[in-house]
């Protein structure tokens, strides 16, 4: 069977590949900051945006971007305060987001369980041409921002106080990261769904760092793993008729498992006999 005989399949693949590349490029900063689960929370909030869009008869992607960006900025402001009640405030925001979303989607005229499921678990093959334009435009914007600002974002996520003393615009960079998270969550919602969005941001990074030694190599490897999982998951889901979003996530998890076992095996074989010459892993050549 030819996977690419239909336009909708081609669109679905392009969408998946863009997300596979952009999500880990952003996710690495969230992991570095130990905020791996934040994408999940923003995904909950984005559902309210979807509900608003369906209710107003506008593109749910646009309204979801707006609402989740407001949510992400709220989360960032709570984080900056650093209060202990922040954890609870986040919980309230996230559950408010998902509850509001379910109610609003139910109120909209074209409400059905199917439309709700489509946003919660993704609906790759219904990606329309206009969806693809939005996904492509925003995905490229996320990628460019994350790659161009890598030194500054690395500094802020690695040691925020040092970055402040360096005179970096820390608040602006944090807000940029928050808004970018919201954008990525929303464009990934078509691919893997809001409940699995965070996985595409975090799992490729977790997989990459099993075998990498530096930040830059981890970022590159995570993006390769992300796009590879998206492509493999797409093909497998088409052949085996499984849910594309979940299949993509399972592919990424499989890479994580393989690299964890493989990395441990490599270290066991090559790490122990340290005589004379040091064995250097191939990615040690630095980041020049």
């Amino acid at each position: 069977m030819n996977l690419f005989a239909y336009d909708f399949m081609v669109r679905a693949l392009i969408g998946a590949l863009i997300i596979g590349l952009a999500a880990p490029a952003l996710g690495i900063y969230l992991v570095q900051r130990r905020l791996s689960l934040i994408g999940d929370g923003i995904g909950h909030v984005a559902l309210t945006g979807v509900g608003v869009g369906l209710l107003l008869g506008r593109s749910p992607v646009i309204t979801a971007v707006i609402v989740s960006a407001i949510g992400a900025v709220g989360v960032e402001l709570i984080r900056q305060r650093g209060r202990t009640s922040g954890d609870l405030a986040l919980a309230l925001l996230f559950y408010g987001g998902i509850a509001g979303g379910v109610v609003l989607v139910g109120l909209s005229s074209n409400s059905s369980n199917a439309s709700l499921m489509q946003y919660l678990f993704g609906s790759l093959t219904t990606t329309s041409a206009s969806d693809l334009v939005i996904i492509g435009g925003l995905g490229v914007a996320v990628l460019v921002a994350m790659l161009l600002l890598r030194p500054a974002l690395f500094a802020v996520c690695h040691d925020e106080e040092y970055a402040r003393v360096s005179g970096l615009p820390v608040r602006t960079l944090n807000l940029l990261l928050a808004v970018t998270t919201a954008v990525t969550v929303t464009i990934a919602m078509r691919t893997v769904g809001l409940l699995l969005v965070s996985a595409l941001m975090v799992v490729p990074v977790a997989a990459a760092q099993q075998v990498t030694r530096g930040f830059r190599t981890t970022m590159t490897a995570a993006m390769v793993i992300g796009i590879g999982a998206a492509a493999a998951g797409f093909v497998v889901s088409a052949e085996a008729d499984t849910a594309p979003g979940a299949t993509i996530v399972i592919m990424a998890l499989a890479v994580f498992l393989a690299l964890t076992v493989g990395g441990a095996g490599w270290r066991l074989l090559h790490g122990r006999p340290r005589r004379g010459v040091e064995v250097e892993p191939p990615d040690v050549v630095l980041n020049g």
């Binding site: 030194p151 040691d159 106080e161 040092y162 970055a163 360096s166 960079l173 760092q209 530096g214 980041n287």
Partner: protein, 262 residues
Amino acid sequence: MTGSSAVRVVNAAVGYGGRPVLRDVSLEVDPGEMVAILGANGSGKSTLIRALVGLVPLAGGQIELFGVPQRRFRQWARIGYVPQRIGAGSGVPATVGEVVMSGRLARRGILAGRRAGDRAAVLGALRDVGLNDRIGDPVSTLSGGQQQRVLIARALAGEPDLLILDEPTAGVDATSQEAFAATLTRFQARGGTILLVAHELGPLRPVIDRCVVVHEGRIAYAGTPPEPAGHHAEPGHDHVHPHAAAEPAGICDWAPADRMAM
């Protein structure tokens, strides 16, 4: 007249949630000086450093850096800050070279690309702390003392005029401390100014020009470092510890009145 000081603090006061930590601290550091701020835990010495670099807001008084009021100070590349930290790791692996490279950002700006000078400065800073052979290693594989030296190299990589270090020798073995003292001496010989916080001087004693002892949020002693003697005969040591134990009760008793007087 004030333009000549690298650091000038006048009647500085800082409070955390209404509790005064610094009360009326004044301090001046001249260019080329190496000054140590000493004090017991909770004396306010780290707060003084954090207020200097703008991480903690002032409740009163003024701070000038290179003759410019801190609020209008923008030449942060002139300041190399070494935070108090055991370990330099985070959620994603980073190499020693990558961490030290972030010290170049203040100088080159966030959007400019990397230049040859950046690479040279990173290598020079790592050589200065004796870690140039570890540039490609993940920071997490280094010992605590080595990680502290990475943070010092990060500050040096920005080629600052003033180094501000918060407890750089805490939890660092004696060998690393001596290497660290040599690094500071070389920085000073190049015309650099150093202000550091320490719990005790140890191997740093011979290289320090002047000591300031902070006690209960005030300057209790300022002058030359005490002469090397038996560990417990040190004036700074003697002075600080007996009071430190009584400190919490003291603050609770008279803190509110003190706040109002300000």
